[in-house]
């Protein structure tokens, strides 16, 4: 089996560009930035108001930009990615199957692994682009305040990893169907399920509740949002991505046998 970065790059770059030759990328990025901008503005003004009140009471020192702005902002960003990533990934394989352009890929000298990873990176780059556009918020905070840069960096890291999981799940569901709506809906449902899976942990038994907590996508983000980098979390996210992409590989491979 071949696994050449050049081939992966060819596919990833072509699909990344496709987002921008159709309205998809612009609509998603615009929607994302409008919502994020609104949230940032709301968080910031709320924080300012509180800071003013605390100052009057002589408690100004107890205010934290990390707790007041950074954590809610990036926490919300994760929710928005949960909603937006399905729209990004749903077309990846579903459209190729519907339009039968997948025959070009399938009869080209590339392996299915290269195909899957290439598709993954095309969507990943778009998510990465969206994240990079939000760097403007920390810059604003730096100009007018003195935020702790550690939690900001780890929040970005965590958000990127969490979104990668959505993207990988999206690649998988897109490989399963010709129907983009189905692919998108399943991606969203799966993302939400793995987000909420630990809700049941309070009522579950001791071992089972640990498992449920470990399976939860958002549980592993908590450390990142506090500025902590734990290898457990990184390993979980990377495994999630790997398993999803592996399953996509199996699905696409089986497509040849039909």
């Amino acid at each position: 089996m071949s696994f050449k970065p050049k081939k992966i790059w060819t596919i990833a770059w072509k699909d990344f560009r496709t987002y921008f030759t159709s309205p998809i990328a612009y609509i998603i990025i615009a929607g994302f930035l409008i919502i994020m901008g609104w949230m940032f503005f709301f968080n910031l003004s709320h924080f300012n108001m509180q800071a003013l009140q605390y100052k009057q009471m002589g408690m100004g020192k107890s205010m934290s930009i990390t707790e007041g702005i950074i954590r809610p902002l990036y926490g919300n960003m994760n929710v928005i990615f949960l909603f937006l990533v399905p729209f990004i990934t749903m077309r990846l394989f579903a459209e190729e199957r519907k339009q039968q352009t997948i025959q070009l890929l399938m009869t080209s000298p590339i392996s299915i692994a290269e195909m899957v990873v290439g598709k993954f990176f095309s969507a990943f780059f778009l998510v990465f682009t969206m994240l990079m556009l939000t760097v403007v918020y920390p810059i604003i905070l730096w100009i007018f305040g003195n935020p702790d840069y550690g939690p900001i960096l780890t929040s970005y890291m965590g958000t990127l990893m969490l979104s990668s999981c959505y993207v990988a799940a999206g690649v998988f569901f897109s490989s399963m169907t010709e129907n983009q709506i189905v692919a998108g809906a399943l991606t969203f449902a799966a993302g939400l399920f793995f987000w909420l899976i630990n809700w049941a942990s309070q009522s579950a038994g001791p071992v089972f509740s640990d498992i449920l907590d470990y399976m939860s996508l958002i549980q592993h983000y908590n450390n990142f949002s506090q500025g902590i980098i734990d290898t457990t979390d990184i390993v979980f996210y990377l495994s999630f991505v790997f398993v999803s992409l592996f399953l996509s590989h199996r699905v696409l491979d089986s497509y040849r046998w039909r």
Partner: protein, 310 residues
């Protein structure tokens, strides 16, 4: 260049193709002929390495289609029934993508794209978005995609379907021009298509090869005995009876001024006798010619009496 032996593909209990055997030499243009659902596309998909066979082997350009699929794919250009074009892409970008996928070296990228564009007559639309092109142009873009990496073998699944007559002629000329440099297999259920472009045809029906030969040989072989048309001014009953009485003449059909004479095989010297009698009976010979069985009739015979002539 292509060697297929005992190739079988089954979908559950239903066999799409069964024990196909054929070889195609370098630079040949071979037509795959058969009614819809005969197994043409299935065979082609197997040859491109897209789909594995249930049993049997196939070698393309010296590589096994199953165990060396990547090498096969590098040496094959494939145009599926629906050209696999991305509607939102520009023609040139699309061909660049196809070339990169097929391992065209960076240094040769520009020249291979230009040559594919020129050969398929896409020069005027190279900067256009594929979705805005007509069906005929999209088909050409698909063909350019199959050609862009200059493959040894070209597999074209119904390359002229949906084109207008002028475009059909252009594409045929293009395909004919590929002979020698490329080995070409094209499939079709349209007969003139195959007669116009191919040197050899493989007729396949219900998953079996029912005949494979050059077009001339196939038509001659299919003739049961020999038929001659004798066009006369005056088809007198006496004359007809005289011809009938020649030993070796099986039957004489009378269609007005045209007599259809059937003689036994390998008795072509009878032609002299027939003419002599026609002249002596003052029938006024206008034309005497062997009746050519059109490929259409051959095809019908082959696909209706399955296995009878293979």
């Amino acid at each position: 260049m292509i060697e297929v032996s005992d190739l079988t593909k089954a979908y559950g209990p239903r066999a799409a193709i069964q024990n196909l055997n054929f070889t195609i030499g370098k630079g040949e243009i071979v037509g795959f002929l058969g009614p819809n659902g005969a197994g043409k596309s299935t065979t082609m998909k197997i040859l491109t390495g897209f789909m594995p066979a249930t049993s049997g082997t196939a070698k393309v350009a010296g590589f096994d289609v199953f165990s060396q699929a990547i090498d096969v794919k590098r040496n094959v250009g494939y145009l599926p029934e629906n050209p696999p074009v991305y509607m939102e892409m520009i023609v040139e970008d699309y061909l660049e993508y196809a070339a990169k996928l097929h391992d065209v070296e960076r240094g040769k990228l520009r020249s291979s794209i230009s040559s594919a564009i020129e050969r398929t007559g896409l020069t005027g639309v190279r900067k256009r978005i594929i979705g805005n092109l007509s069906k005929g142009y999209r088909q050409r873009v698909g063909l350019a995609q199959a050609l862009v990496h200059n493959p040894q073998v070209l597999i074209l699944d119904e390359p002229t379907v949906g084109l207008d007559p002028v475009q059909i002629i252009e594409i045929r000329e293009l395909i004919k021009g590929l002979a020698g440099h490329h080995t070409v297999i094209l499939s079709s259920h349209i007969l003139p298509e195959v007669t116009a472009t191919c040197q050899r045809i493989i007729v396949i029906n219900k998953g079996h090869i029912v005949a494979q030969d050059t077009i001339e040989k196939l038509t001659t072989r299919m003739r049961q005995g020999l038929l001659f048309n004798l066009q006369v001014k005056n088809a007198s009953a006496g004359g007809i009876n005289a011809i009938k009485s020649i030993s070796g003449v099986k039957s004489v059909g009378n269609e007005g001024s045209k007599l259809v004479i059937e003689i036994e095989p390998n008795q072509s010297e009878l032609r002299d006798r027939i003419i002599e009698i026609a002249v002596s009976e003052k029938m006024g010979v206008l034309e005497f010619a062997p009746e050519k069985l059109s490929l259409e009739e051959v095809f019908l015979q082959l696909t209706t009496n399955e296995g009878a002539h293979s």
